[in-house]
Amino acid sequence: MAVYKRTYKTYDGPLTPAWSRFGVVARYSFSTLFKSRIFTIFTMLCFVPVFFAIAWMYVIHSPLVQQMLGVRMGSALQINNQWFSQLLWAQAWMGFMLATAATPGMVSRDFANHALQLYLCRPLSRLEYLVGKISVIAVLLSAVTWIPGLLLFALQAQLESHGWAWDHLYLIGSIVLSGWLWIAVISLLMLALSVWVKWRIAATGLILGVFFLMPGFAEAFNAILRTKWGRVFNLPYVLNLIWEQIYRVDPRFGHINYINRLPMWSAWATVLTVCLISAWLLNQKLKAREVERG
């Protein structure tokens, strides 16, 4: 229908494949996110530690630079599993802040004026909508966690002798697994809380509360009841336990108190429970129409 004709005409042209529709949700979400200069600048800042890590690697492998800087790198500063674990843990938290800035706004705009029904009245399922949103968080977190992790591993393998890469080959799996574990937990939890609360500011507060206030409550719980099990409510602690296991960090040298650690099975069970509760919440709340009981 041409503009000047102003008549209604049905559309008989080509259609995009049905499986690719989630990509439309993701594309528009990305485009909206990066319209914000603050968000774009923050995303760039998330790469700063990676550049420092590259510089660090270079200095360690260059006696000339060390001589110029007047420093001597000892064996304690070697690049190993612990180094990767700590660097990517820091990156994971950068990613967390990035996702916290992105997720509530990305979801609340669809809920604020009941726009969700307009998504779901189209050939787009709730799952596809969710996959579209999760893929935005996944791409953002991947870009600052496991992808730079793998690049750093490749760089280190290149700079170090052949034996290092072979000895630390398991780190490839650790980097990828830890990255995707973080993505799964963060994206599901943040989306569930955002969908539940529907209000951007409240959702952001709730997310920060779960990660920064809940550990305080967990420790208070432990102190009052003289137990260690309150830590199952301390999600950063639980994730750190798993993180260290994935990177094969010796528990005695990890930065989690060796004594009174929760058993690993409880850490995995907590993470699994958080994911299941988030999925349940999304299933309950991500609907075109909510039914009032009565």
Binding site: M1, A2, V3, R6, T7, Y8, K9, T10, Y11, D12, G13, P14, L15, T16, A18, R21, V24, V25, Y28, T32, R109, D110, A112, N113, H114, A115, Q117, L118, Y119, L120, C121, R122, P123, L124, S125, K287, A288, R289, V291, E292, R293, G294
Partner: protein, 318 residues
């Protein structure tokens, strides 16, 4: 050749929150513009939401273009454009970007979606405001942008839930004119839900009247108009043989005393014959009201709880 009904309801029952909202709906709707009429809370919006797959039927089913909504809702949604009753928009998007986004979600490639988003905006008369953020639009403009997003992907069935809600008379007329224009293209079927009789009467050729979740009447307005049953209200000075003569002419006639008569004039009898009969029987006609059975009459009868099919209905069962 059998025409596939646009919407077919088969003992459709929907329960929400433990309450029965739609109760055993049966009927077949084939019009180009179908009205869903009923008082607030009668189940109109629930029926639309069920057709869109938002609410699962607790029993029975519905078919759209012959396809069961239970199994093929995703394919059916590609053929449907939906304009919800409540606000539904993304406030911080420009109008044209919002409609383009919705068209892309319906499966249009980005380029075509952009083109049709612009066209839809001009079509609904918002061309000049298409680069403004939707959140800044007036209520009437928001209604129009909802219509634009329902049209942009070129659906074959458009579901409009209370499209004239909150509009001033001028905007309401413009909205109804748009609906009539869409209907008159003949390429698309429109279902309008409204509690305003006038809106339905102006646009629709078939109407489903709901009351308390049940079908109160299913009426083919077009056939009703074609049948053109003429209702006459007469006041005469005396009825000397006049009533009998009218009966003999083949008209239904009821006398209410004091010379007040009601006559149903069949299609093949001209009004002139009534005047001739009056002259033959030296009866003075002092007053005559001439009107057809209107949607208002049909609606009022239906609301009174008459569980009979209104004359002229073609397909439905109650």
């Amino acid at each position: 050749m059998d025409v596939v009904p646009v919407v077919e309801l088969q003992n459709l029952e929907v329960k929400l929150g433990g309450r029965t909202i739609l109760d055993g709906l049966n009927g077949s709707l084939s019009g180009h513009c179908i009205g869903l009429l009923g008082p607030n809370g009668s189940g109109k919006s629930t029926l639309i939401n069920t057709l869109l797959g938002f609410y699962p039927p607790s029993s029975g089913t519905a078919h759209i273009f012959g396809e069961d909504i239970k199994g093929k809702i995703k394919q059916l949604r590609a053929l449907i454009g939906y304009m919800p009753e409540s606000d539904a928009f993304i406030a911080d998007m420009t109008g044209v970007r919002f409609v383009r986004y919705m068209a892309e979600l319906s499966g249009l490639p980005a380029r075509e979606a952009m083109e049709r988003a612009h066209e839809a905006f001009f079509y609904v008369g918002l061309g000049e405001a298409r680069y403004r953020k939707v959140g800044t639009y007036s209520l009437g403009m928001k209604q129009l942008v909802k219509l634009a997003q329902a049209l942009a992907h070129g659906p074959k069935l458009i579901l409009l839930d209370e499209p004239t809600n909150g509009l001033d008379p001028e905007a309401r007329q413009r909205m109804l004119q748009l609906v009539r224009d869409i209907r008159d293209t003949g390429k698309v079927h429109v279902v309008i839900s409204s509690h305003l009789l006038h809106d339905i009467e102006e646009c629709c050729d078939e109407v489903l009247i709901l009351n308390k979740g049940r079908i109160a009447a299913l009426c083919n307005l077009e056939e009703e108009r074609k049948a053109n049953l003429k209702f006459l209200e007469l006041e005469v000075n005396n009825e000397n043989g006049f009533v009998h003569a009218i009966h003999q002419l083949g008209c239904e006639c009821a006398s209410f005393g004091n010379g007040r008569l009601k006559i149903v004039l069949p299609e093949n009898i001209q009004l002139r014959r009534i005047y001739e009969l009056a002259a033959e029987h030296t009866v003075q006609i002092r007053r005559m009201n001439y009107r057809r059975d209107s949607l208002e009459d049909i609606f009022l009868k239906a609301m009174e709880g008459r569980q009979e099919m209104v004359k002229g209905s073609a397909n439905g069962r109650i």
